[in-house]
Amino acid sequence: MNIDTNKLTITSAHKHLMSGDFSARELAQAYLDVIEKKNKDINAYLEVFDDVLEQATQADKRIASKKNVHLLTGIPLAMKDNILIKGYRCGAASKILEGYYATYDSTVARKLKETGAVFLGRTNMDEFAMGTSTENSAYGPTKNPHDTSRVPGGSSGGSAAAVAMGGALAALGSDTGGSIRQPASFCGLVGLKPTYGAVSRYGLMAMGSSLDQISPLARTMQDAETLFNSIRGLDPHDGTTISPDMYGVAEIPKKFVIGVPEEFAYSKGVSESVVKNFKESIERLKVLGCEIRSVKMHNLPYALPAYYIIMPAEVSSNLARYDGVKFGALEEGEDLMQDYFRTRGRLFGKEARRRIMLGTYVLSAGYYDAYYKKAVAVRNLIRQDFKNVFAEGVHAIATPTAPSPAFKIGEKINDPLQLYVEDIFTVTANISGMPAISLPSGFSLVDGKQLPLGLQLQAPHGREQYLFEIGKKFEKIRGEAE
């Protein structure tokens, strides 16, 4: 049977694999063909693994034996370049990890291997996941498959572009301040940021440890849910992980109440097309039987400045490990101290250096109280804002995912602050540790190209199921799911 990688979902591919319409090897080959044709223009993949067909053959054996067959057996997936798979190159798109091969499996890689999923390759990203456009990669920017003059979003831009170009059925990325949801919005995909601790961070290169989560980018809500269920769970290697019932088991309400923080959602700087599309999405949610409630959350505008204090503080300590001594690349100097300075000064890119400097500043004696300590206090105020609204019976908070559709490559690269503002709606979920999802909500016609837009929903801790349920209804009336 003819394989159309632009139409397949995990669910439909699994059915075809089970009924023998095509083999896992044929499926993998179809994806390799698309990558071969499109990747030179899109630059979604930094590397396509050379054992893809062997992995697929193993999956075929498993399917033939009818033992241990999982929904993901034989499903071709892409992996962001900051998630370790033992024995494979991994580099966070940074020169400082040039030549590094992963020495162990991340927990998510181990879990996916157990399902028999097929890893196609590692995807481009902003260096160490720092950025909102994938332009901070040391290996050139990724382009948006919907318009190659535009960015795919970031930092998981390579993962998003890989799926959007039909070069992977789904992908894993990481989300520290919106790095899955904003690319999902720009590329027309579903992107989930789970509850903090739902998915193990063992084997994910740490950026902001109190904010990072690994999670899926997929074509449909069902696919995102399938992947999430396959990688979640307690892990002895990550003390911050939680069991799926840590926050109790959710009963699915008959009628969802959706809160809209209007002042925040319509704040200045949000583009007209996004506002128009967001209002349409709210109308659709009403049609689906959701109750829409206007909510006041005064502290939300402070989430972004608090984030750009907490995150660089954590970055400056997490990136201290890259020193040219233990692994990765070394830029030789006269003595050990010069080894450190040259390796870090020359092999980290500009954005990484900028954030290390910022983090060092906000943690330094004399400024700690005014910045870091204050930001942690603000973080609690924001978490409290959400808890108050959820306590009043609201099930999810709706905002746009990003303030604009995909922007031009190079348009914002010289103004770091302008790139930071991309995260305005997404950071609240990382700051509060709550789950959030971006769903495709339509398109904006710009310069003759249809650019995807996204709707973001954020739920209480441990309530991913609310997001999946609302999302599945929402995607049905859009009529795009297969």
């Binding site: 091969y101 911050t240 400045p305 003595d335 870090r344 000064g345 290390i356 942690v376």
Partner: protein, 93 residues
């Protein structure tokens, strides 16, 4: 406002060799970002607790050690300079 001396000091602390022609741009950028994040000073939030996350203690028994040397070869294979089973660095003293 950050001075060029502040930038040198921060770079020193962070072990970063910043090219001379980038220092002024970096100073302006970091300065404008600090200006933006200072927004949070407007909030009076001293009354809130300063904990990060839902605080829980995570402890485990210190047992089931792995075999000596089980991971040594894999890890040492990634070291830029190695001598036998050691990580090699330039002379310190």
């Amino acid at each position: 406002m950050l001075t060029p001396k502040d930038i040198d000091n921060l770079a020193q602390l962070a072990r970063l060799d910043i090219p001379a022609d980038e220092k002024e741009t970096l100073r302006k950028e970091v300065d404008s970002i600090l200006g933006y994040v200072s927004e949070i000073q407007k909030l009076s939030g001293t009354e809130v607790k300063k904990e990060v996350g839902e605080v829980r203690n995570v402890l485990r028994e210190d047992d089931n050690p792995h075999l000596p040397g089980e991971f040594s070869e894999d890890l040492l294979a990634e070291v830029p300079h190695r001598q036998d089973n050691f990580v090699k660095v330039k002379k310190i003293l």
